[in-house]
Symmetry: C2
Amino acid sequence: MARSGRLSPGGDQRESGRQQILDVIRAAESIARIDIAKATGVSPATVTAITAELLAAGLIEEIAPEVAPGARRGRPRVALRIRGGAHRIAGLKVSHHVISTVITDFVGQELASHEMPLVQGTMPVPELCAQIRRALELTCTQGGFSIEDLSGVGIGMAGMIDAERGFIYWSSSLEERNVAFSAAITAELPCPVFLDNDANLVAKAEHLFGEGRTCDNFIVITIEHGVGMGIVIDRQIYRGTRGCGAEFGHTKVHLEGALCQCGQRGCLEAYVGDYALLREANISSGSDRHRTIASLFQSAENGDAMAKSILDRARRMFAMGLANVVNIFDPSKIILAGARLSFDYLYSDKLIEEMRQWVVQVDAPLPEVIVHDWGDLMWAKGAAAYALEEVTARTVRELANAAA
Amino acid sequence: MARSGRLSPGGDQRESGRQQILDVIRAAESIARIDIAKATGVSPATVTAITAELLAAGLIEEIAPEVAPGARRGRPRVALRIRGGAHRIAGLKVSHHVISTVITDFVGQELASHEMPLVQGTMPVPELCAQIRRALELTCTQGGFSIEDLSGVGIGMAGMIDAERGFIYWSSSLEERNVAFSAAITAELPCPVFLDNDANLVAKAEHLFGEGRTCDNFIVITIEHGVGMGIVIDRQIYRGTRGCGAEFGHTKVHLEGALCQCGQRGCLEAYVGDYALLREANISSGSDRHRTIASLFQSAENGDAMAKSILDRARRMFAMGLANVVNIFDPSKIILAGARLSFDYLYSDKLIEEMRQWVVQVDAPLPEVIVHDWGDLMWAKGAAAYALEEVTARTVRELANAAA
DNA sequence: ATGATTTAATTTGAAACTCAAAAAAAATAT
DNA sequence: ATATTTTTTTTGAGTTTCAAATTAAATCAT
């Protein structure tokens, strides 16, 4: 039972230092050596040594100091930043009707993006692999480079996924269950592949680039067709032992409740997810009037009592679910990510107020609840963020091996 | 934002190694140097160096090798173990009617225990401090030593407690809210005090001495008057940002549900806790027939339909709560701790079966559910386990400072 | 018995790492 | 120009860890 992070036997012992400094540079976007020293507690001498290595490896670069930094005495600080050109990274989100892809540089800047429609949502493994490869190629072409130029690919899918093993217990995109999907797709692509549940990837994106940058413990909740959750504890995605935790959407909120798409009853998702609301609206009105949430929401705005009551219950159930998350995790932040949150039944003062009622009362401020709308590419960017982090870790590890 | 665990600037850099090796020795109870090396990945040379230090400091000791260890060639291994005499540790559990105390040696072996009745359950801070001191003195006297001999005291209380700050948001034992209780009690005692929520402490005890020894991620659930939870992630108690997470008992399981002692509605505790069951039984039967859970349980056994239905619902609610914990945490083990679990409405194949129904289905084995009955001293032992761990950490830190 | 063999623990010496202090670099202030 | 200030780099000392060699303490084989 070797444990990581304590004594590091054999070879190069600087790996953690390199990783730490790279993290700080990435978080700061640009930062001088002296500030890295202050931020990390590492001595300036060591910062110089490590940054010199990273520079030599091409992972970071110096920024030419501005001409007039404004009456500051002494040797001017030279800012460092991640070198965008060091790697190209792709992120893909596989959903039912489309594969969206984004390609970023090593900084995380978008270089190209693309949406590829899917004719059928559920398919066999080889077919999905082929589609993923095609989506990647199309996006690369659009950006003017080749798939060979990628250093890593992140893939996000809805379903139960053990990220560590690259194993898919179940996904709505696959006909088969229990597939070692990483192995399959890796064989198709010329670079490492990193696979995870889509909600975890959004959490990763929030951590690296979004509202979670300044925050060590937070929770991301995504609402779309289904309800997802990503948990960040101590700067790390929490995945559970089988890799299938954080199933917030399938948390039970009612003993003999509404039927969920997962086949069980009483799941939160069956009260809050798109399909659940539309189903109830259409059944109740005995018609197929509502095809989108926007339409249902509009009806409620126009004073339709039934629509109102449906959205009302969704909000109360959601508030209850959120309160349970706070009661269990006590996170410092809850980030509601995605476009759906712009409908105010899901985010409003009323929601927060109801949540407060259900959270165990202490005389300390509630966790902050934030809405963050990333736009359409949110999921793909999340996948890219994950790949970015993993490629960084690998590169640092290779550096260590090279040094030893 | 200095981060711990990576580069360790200044002074002695061996602290983590010492702690790691001490942890391994404690977990193994007794172990030879060569096996420490294997278990940790640290080289035998370094193990020799560090264990020599720990021996010199009196924290560990060698065990004289057995005479005939059974046909094993080569130099016989010399086992090391924690030296019980190194420290004396006390653990207290403050509950409504009694303060139970246990004193252990540095190994965790019980040296003395005592129960001191409390006339009134809720009292002002100075009064509780005085009672705690008295309980400690009585227990020390019983063990034949003095309160001055203690190296640390752990205290567990029901309520919302921020362990890190030693701050009590609310506890049923205290008249005041928002008390810096650690500071108050530390002033009364000649040694460091470590305060935490009682369920967390049981988790700590399971981790150090119980079912959690071989397990990095598990959850402990305690049921008594109320329902508590302790979460261990990566060998560490998870406490949340305000220190008041893991409120499993106040997780909401019903939108407009039963009234809980916390004043809210729909808490799991209001369906599963002792007081909730008795309340319902007595209201329903219009009498005061049932004064204990045992009596209610007996009625159900004898075929009383009402009693049966009450316990039935409790079990179903509990199963649903457990399923939610699995859906969110995906732990490798769930430990149900405490005597109450011997009533089979709370633990039975039926419960597990119901839980399985509510857990999101994947083709991977469910987390193990284990019942562990510690007897009366469970809570106090948990408090002692916490103090033991903290005293160990402090001692190691002092060793580091001494070396530097 | 006695030497060969095996396994555990310790010692030794080299390599790596971090840091404090000193030095160098590069600007502004006077 | 020279002094001052601030950042970065260099230098050298002190730790720490490890691989390899050595020592220790047992059993096995003859």
